[in-house]
């Protein structure tokens, strides 16, 4: 469903990605791990066009994104990026809920504005999404009145309201208090169990091990190892993976 070929990207002046290739099948759950700044977040952001890249191509659901290296991409590039975004939902580390809208308004905004969906139907679907993540009673609250865990769950619901075929999670629990990590991970787990194609960048190794079909290890912009979690976590093939894992697992 997602194919990456020969991806090159310069990030703040240095050559971050030097030709990355990756294929992700429909329904697959891929977890990206690696030290901070290794490129796993940037890689996810390239897939839905929040970051431009200088060489290579990314194909999502048959829509091709070529190297978009101009300061101002032309109309066709922008249209393609938008088509990709309609199929791929994204959840951010900082939640990024719209503070001037209620929880419900956050969820229905894009379906109404982008898809032109029917209001009554959309609100009904939004309420059932809120029921799924168990915060229906906060539908009329503003984001600032919610805890971090609740905000992130709403952010997930907001992305799901667009009925995406794949979801990108960019360190979804990194800015949460420890006691709230579990509630967010359990929502993601439900999603995975329903068969959603899911890409997650995370530092939660236990979670990675539990849900991943495949683990991809990033280091300094390179994919240094990829394989099923059992293999990566018990018999890492490279020394860099072993060093990284021993450092995070010790904590």
């Amino acid at each position: 469903m997602i194919t990456v070929r020969g991806l090159h990207k310069y990030y703040e002046g240095h050559h971050l990605f030097k030709g990355i290739d990756l294929d992700i099948k429909k329904g697959e759950v891929v977890v990206f791990i690696g030290p901070s700044g290794s490129g796993k977040s940037t890689f996810l952001r390239c897939i839905n066009g929040l970051e431009y890249f200088q060489q290579g191509e990314i194909v999502v659901n048959g829509i091709e994104l070529h190297s978009i290296n101009r300061l101002r991409p032309d109309r066709k590039d922008l249209e393609n990026i938008r088509k990709v975004r309609l199929k791929v939902g994204m959840v951010f580390q900082q939640f990024n809920l719209f503070p001037h809208m209620t929880v419900l308004e956050n969820i229905i905004e894009a379906p109404l504005q982008v898809l032109g969906a029917d209001r009554t139907v959309t609100i009904e679907q939004a309420r059932s999404l809120l029921r799924r993540i168990n915060i229906e009673r906060k539908a009329e609250s503003y984001p600032e009145e919610l805890s971090g865990g609740e905000q992130q769950r709403v952010a997930i619901a907001r992305a799901l309201a667009m009925k995406p075929e794949a979801m990108l999670f960019d360190e979804p629990t990194s800015s949460l208090d420890p006691e709230m990590v579990g509630e967010v991970l359990s929502v993601i787990k439900d999603l995975v169990n329903e068969g959603m194609t899911t890409l997650i960048a995370t530092h939660e190794m236990g979670f990675a091990r539990e849900v991943a079909d495949r683990v991809v290890v990033f280091d300094s912009g390179d994919i240094i190892e990829t394989g099923p979690p059992g293999e990566i976590f018990t018999h890492p093939k490279t020394e860099r993976t072993r060093v990284f894992l021993s450092r995070v697992l010790k904590r």
Binding site: N48, Q94, H100, M101, A110, Q113
Partner: protein, 503 residues
């Protein structure tokens, strides 16, 4: 509370205001080909004059300041009556009367305008209606100055653009101080800032003669004619006015006016033959004593105009500012460069200069607008630059993740700006915008330079004719405060609300 609701209402009001100001553009009057026909068709004779410090020519009646009186008001009444129309005064600064006439702000200009060869190059003049002389005035205790020959090395005040100014300049060795109003030179003379004042006799007769601290020095000098200025090309109007003046002189009605205002002297005999009665003259002493409440209706009318100008200008500033910000941040070149240039130029030059260029400068290149339109545009375009900067600050205070989240949901950049970025940016910018409104409100006093009689101009007209600068000044200041204080309360409340919510 529905937070997107107020945005919608705000935009609705905004577009209404833009529409209104656009309308004002279209209805700006165009200059008719034949002024005499226009006067007869409209039923009004629009005569240009300056009521500020204008006694005894034209000034507000102390008993009813909404009414203008003066010997030229009486003359305008007589001329209009002969034309079968009603007179209507068109206020303008005295030294701008001729340019204003040329651009079509009035049908004629009549306000002690001396017939000079220089002016005759620009406009037509009627036959003279008054022979003026220049009277030198000094302090009562002055011994050294007996006449104009004693002025070498002395500080002498006069009015800008008058024949008296030319006389003083041509004498050489005189330290000439130029004033814009005719009250201030006598005030400065009385308190010793000047040694003498040379001005037209009617002015001296009204302002200096009753003042116990001042006296005439020597006989009047020079001699010249006041004429009614008429646009070139309006020869038939000039002919008609000359006939009327001749009739007024022959029937003694003009002499009656001059005697009423104590302006009759032997010089006028050259113009006249017959005479009439005298009554209804209002002296400076009476103006000084009129109870202060008589000025309120006039002042409140000025305040109303100030409010009107401020609201329309602010609406223009708020909307044009938004356009500028969007051009600057999202427009790409060359739009963003144009917007940046506009903002820097408007912020970097004085509003006063912008107003002068807009109102007096643009007619030179064929763009002429009425004072009200010029006031809206001048204030609105200036403040738009400041609003644009406030919005830009507001937009950059919105976290970057907001745009990314909106884009990741499939919104276009435009939708994201409209639905996600701007509502948040507005809320951040709102207290600043309210503060700017207060500032604009006070800056609206500057449009008095482009012939708008708003509160400040009303004040200076009234104060100059009554010399009650102090008490009228306090009242006007109080009026401004009463109007701007509710706005600052509003600004403070908005700021508090912003502080309470985290964003």
């Amino acid at each position: 509370m529905n937070k997107s609701g107020w945005m919608k209402n705000f935009l609705r009001v905004l577009s209404l205001c833009i529409g209104l100001s656009a309308l004002l553009f279209w209805v700006a009057p165009s200059r008719p080909a034949n002024t005499l026909e226009k006067i007869q068709k409209s039923g009004y004779l629009l005569w240009g004059s300056d009521a500020e410090g204008g006694a005894p020519y034209i000034f507000p009646d102390p008993k009813d300041p909404s009414k203008l009186i003066g010997f030229e008001v009486d003359l305008a009444d007589e001329i209009a009556r002969e034309l079968g129309v009603r007179p209507k005064q068109a206020q303008n600064a005295w030294d701008s009367l001729v340019p204003a006439l040329m651009r079509g702000d009035s049908d004629i200009a009549m306000n002690g305008i001396e017939i000079t060869p220089q002016r005759q190059k620009e406009v037509l003049f009627s036959e003279p209606y008054y022979i003026y002389t220049e009277q030198l005035v000094v302090r009562k205790d002055e011994e050294a100055i007996q006449g104009v020959d004693d002025l070498k090395g002395k500080k002498v005040g006069t009015l800008s653009g008058t024949v008296a100014q030319d006389i003083l300049m041509n004498m050489g060795g005189v330290d000439v101080k130029i004033y814009a109003g005719q009250v201030e030179p006598y005030e400065d003379l009385a308190i010793g800032r000047l040694d003498a004042v040379l001005l037209d006799l009617p002015i001296a007769a009204y302002y200096a003669k009753p003042n116990p601290k001042l006296k005439y020095a020597g006989p009047p000098v020079g001699e010249g004619f006041y004429g009614i200025a008429i646009r070139k090309g309006d020869e038939d109007l000039k002919k008609r006015i000359d006939e009327i003046l001749d009739k007024l002189m022959r029937t003694g009605r003009l002499k009656a006016i001059y005697e009423k205002w104590d302006l009759w002297n032997e010089q006028q005999e050259k113009l006249f033959l017959k005479a009439g009665g005298t009554e209804g003259y209002v002296s400076l002493e009476e103006s000084k004593k009129a109870p202060v409440y008589t000025f309120f209706p006039t002042l409140l009318k000025g305040a109303g105009i100030t409010i009107f100008i401020s609201f329309v200008s602010m609406a223009l500033a708020v909307s044009l500012g938004l356009v500028l910000t969007l051009m600057r941040l999202y427009g790409g070149q060359p739009l963003s460069g144009i917007a940046t240039g506009y903002i820097e130029i408007y912020r970097g030059t004085p509003l006063l200069i912008q107003l002068y260029i807009l109102y007096y400068g643009l007619p030179n290149i064929g763009i002429s607008m009425n004072p009200l339109t010029a006031a809206f545009l001048g204030l609105g375009m200036n403040y738009a630059a400041y609003e644009a900067e406030l919005y830009r600050a507001g937009i950059s205070a919105v976290p970057k993740g907001q745009m990314e989240a909106a884009l990741s949901l499939g919104m276009t950049r435009g939708t994201a700006v409209k639905r996600v970025i701007l509502p948040q940016a507005f809320r951040i910018a709102l207290p600043g915008v309210t503060n700017d409104f207060i500032a604009l409100f006070k800056d609206s006093s500057l449009v008095s330079v482009i012939a708008m009689v708003e509160l400040t101009k009303t004040y200076s007209i009234l104060a100059a004719s009554t010399l009650r600068f102090f008490e009228l000044g306090l009242i006007v200041a109080l009026l401004y405060f009463a109007m701007s204080y509710p706005l600052s309360l509003l600004a403070r409340r908005l700021e508090d609300r912003l502080k309470r919510s985290k964003r």
